[in-house]
């Protein structure tokens, strides 16, 4: 009951005119950004951080802005993946599997409205989930000491690698690179300059905004350059824009199941929306009867990943707010944004700044409603945006990126650093290393080292503090599970190497 009171308060915060307007702008910007080929939620949120900062918005408002952009991007991303078969980011890959065939059959409008409905329901289920589980986890999280936190971070990283499907080792290496990057700069405990090699620009570490924009914007620009060379064309949308009752009935259980699955996948640190949509799609495919048309335009195959995707987007707020451990690349960016505002996410946030937490949760709900209200009538308009040619789009992205980076410190050193990071990011991407893992590692790196050193300071250097409480035992058990899972999967694949089952 207490929770409901807080939630009411949250709605009070979220429905102030300024915040409502912010949420509206956020969803709109998010949808457009998500729609543009190559730009995903990470870019959207990252590009807006400097702007939100520059506008001097109060922290809860800018957090609402970022969350609304996040949801908007997740939504906009599917428009390009349904119409163009270009998934803007990893979590929309599953959407393209059945969404694009639907668009080819001329049912683009139906596909888009189903994905809107699915996203809405998924978001709704997850918002309810966040309301119930976040406070529970927050009260429980107070029992977390430095040792427990350290184990949680190890879990988050192994979870990321273990869940990453066919390339666990690449994910692991990528997140370790991220952890390593976090070590650059002055060490706050001892005052030693690490890995700066005498450069003044690196002395307070790699700026978060520089890393994100370098990894995602610059590398994306380079990828888009390849794509311009091998052009891609848009599809026409025609016919009915709305799904009918029969179609809605056909997918209702799919949507409900996928929403719940998505939420719980979103809570797991490191798993995030990509995994959620894949798991939901696979399990629906398995449950379907033999005469399904998964893979060439089954409505369930579209609804399942869509719903799970947005449920996970909301669900990943839970570990971010309660533990300060981001559940996905995008929440990692948001976590960075919070620290810019001097807010430390974690259990204490619920006690010290409830207006931020509950305002955010309430605005997630409002953003969901806005998305569905705004998007269904605007589908026709949005499909036009896809016609923006790269020669206008890319210089714009590049210049805004440069401004965002320059705005942090007003030094050109950061611009060069961003380009270097971008080129390395592009190379990593070409070799199939997941960049979001680098980012997650970078975010976790600082906190991870601090907690490890704090724990060992408490125990005076005795390593056994890392496995001294039930929470740490549980954590290590989960870590072991996550390390063994891909090994088991690989072993099973080798045993049943059959041509039919990929």
């Amino acid at each position: 009951m207490e929770t409901l009171g807080y939630l009411g308060q949250g709605f009070g915060v979220a429905t102030t005119p300024l915040n409502l307007f912010t949420a509206l702008c956020g969803t709109l910007i998010g949808t457009v950004v998500g729609l543009l080929p190559g730009l995903g939620p990470i870019n959207g949120v990252a590009l807006l951080i400097p702007i939100a900062f520059a506008l001097g918005l109060p922290p809860e408002t800018s957090l609402i802005l970022l969350a609304a952009v996040y949801l908007g991007c997740e939504y906009g991303g599917r428009i390009s993946s349904i119409l163009l078969n270009i998934p803007g980011e990893a979590s929309a890959v599953m959407t393209a599997l059945d969404g694009h065939p639907l668009a080819r059959q001329g049912k683009a409008g139906i596909a888009l409205s189903i994905s809107a409905a699915g996203s809405f329901t998924g978001g709704l289920i997850a918002t309810i989930g966040v309301t119930i589980f976040a406070p529970l986890l927050a009260t429980w999280a107070v029992a977390f000491g430095p040792a427990e936190y350290f184990v949680m971070m190890v879990f988050a990283i192994t979870c990321l690698a273990g869940m990453a499907g066919n390339k666990p080792m690449k994910t692991a290496v990528a997140s370790l690179i991220g952890l390593m990057l976090a070590c650059v700069g002055i060490d706050s405990n001892s005052g030693v300059y690490r890995f700066t090699f005498g450069s003044l620009g690196l002395s307070d570490g790699i700026q978060f905004v520089v890393l994100v924009l370098g990894l995602f914007s610059i590398s994306e620009i380079l990828v888009l350059l390849e794509r311009t060379y091998y052009g891609q064309a848009a599809l026409k949308t025609s016919g009915r824009m709305m799904f009918n009752m029969k179609e809605a009935m056909f997918i209702k259980w799919t949507i409900l199941r996928s929403g719940v699955v998505g939420f719980f996948m979103g809570i797991l640190p490191g798993a995030g929306a990509t995994m959620a949509s894949a798991v939901a799609y696979m399990s629906e495919k398995r449950m379907a009867t033999r005469d399904n048309r998964f893979g060439d335009g089954d409505l369930r195959g579209l609804a399942a990943p869509e719903t799970a995707n947005s449920a996970a987007a909301c669900g990943s707020m839970v570990p971010m707010l309660t533990l300060g451990v981001p559940g996905s690349g995008t929440t990692a960016v948001m976590l960075g944004a919070l620290t810019l505002y001097n807010i430390t996410p974690g259990p204490m946030l619920f006690q010290n700044q409830p207006e931020i937490v509950w305002g955010l949760i309430a605005s997630l709900f409002i953003a969901n409603v806005m998305l569905v209200v705004m998007n269904i009538p605007l589908i026709r308009v949005f499909t036009k945006i896809l016609a923006v040619p790269y020669w206008a789009l890319v210089p714009g992205i590049a210049i805004v990126t440069a401004i965002g980076v320059y705005g942090v410190h007003a030094t050109t050193f950061d611009l060069f650093l961003m380009i270097v990071i971008g080129v390395v990011g592009y190379i990593l991407r070409k070799f199939d290393f997941p960049l979001s893992a680098v980012l997650l590692g970078f975010i976790l790196g600082g906190i991870m080292e601090q907690n490890l050193r704090r724990a060992l300071s408490i125990s005076n250097g005795d390593l056994s503090i890392l496995w001294s409480s039930p929470i740490t035992w549980g954590g290590w058990a989960l870590v072991a599970l996550m390390v063994l899972l891909p090994m088991y999967r690989g072993w099973r694949q080798r045993r049943t190497r059959m041509p039919a089952s990929p």
């Binding site: 702007i51 390593m180 020669w391 210049i399 401004i403 050109t412």
Partner: protein, 152 residues
């Protein structure tokens, strides 16, 4: 596959350099048992192990690479793109935001198959519009450079 292995070997060399650097990090006086050296060293060991594993068993490559093969032509364009980005960064403060982004936008526009006329128009519109938007409306200070006589 060969290129990936090559890249991984380069990474190993980088780790080695970093490891040498790490050995030198010594706290002048310390009130904690761990110090600044242990954590990066631990990471480097894990990284090296992971990288060696990948050299031995590279795994699958993304399908994305299959339909956009890196020909010489594309590679040349990529280099040009990075070059123009670097020049943009170099002249950002020297020429000021408006001039440098005008030139940069034209270069990028041309790279992404825009025509000359459209490129110049895009460059002009973008450089001025972004300057007004960020510097004047959003309070992100941008350098005026050679135009500093005009602005106030």
């Amino acid at each position: 596959m060969l290129y990936q292995r090559l890249f991984l070997v380069v990474l190993l060399v980088v780790y080695a350099v970093l490891a040498v650097a790490t050995m030198g990090y010594e706290a002048a006086f310390s009130y904690e048992p761990v110090g600044p050296r242990a954590f990066p060293l631990l990471l480097l060991i894990l990284l090296a192990a992971g990288t060696v594993y990948l050299i031995i068993r590279p795994g699958h490559m993304a399908e994305e690479n299959a339909d956009t093969p890196l020909t010489k032509h594309v590679l040349g364009k990529l280099v040009l793109c990075v070059l123009s980005l670097s020049l943009f960064a170099f002249f950002f403060e020297k020429l000021g935001f408006v001039v440098s982004s005008f030139l940069f936008a034209i270069a990028m526009c041309r790279l992404y198959n825009g025509g000359w006329v459209t490129s110049v128009i895009t460059g002009a519109v973008m450089s001025v519009a972004f300057y007004v938007l960020f510097d004047r409306l959003l309070d992100v200070p941008l350098p005026l450079g050679v135009l500093s006589g005009l602005g106030s």
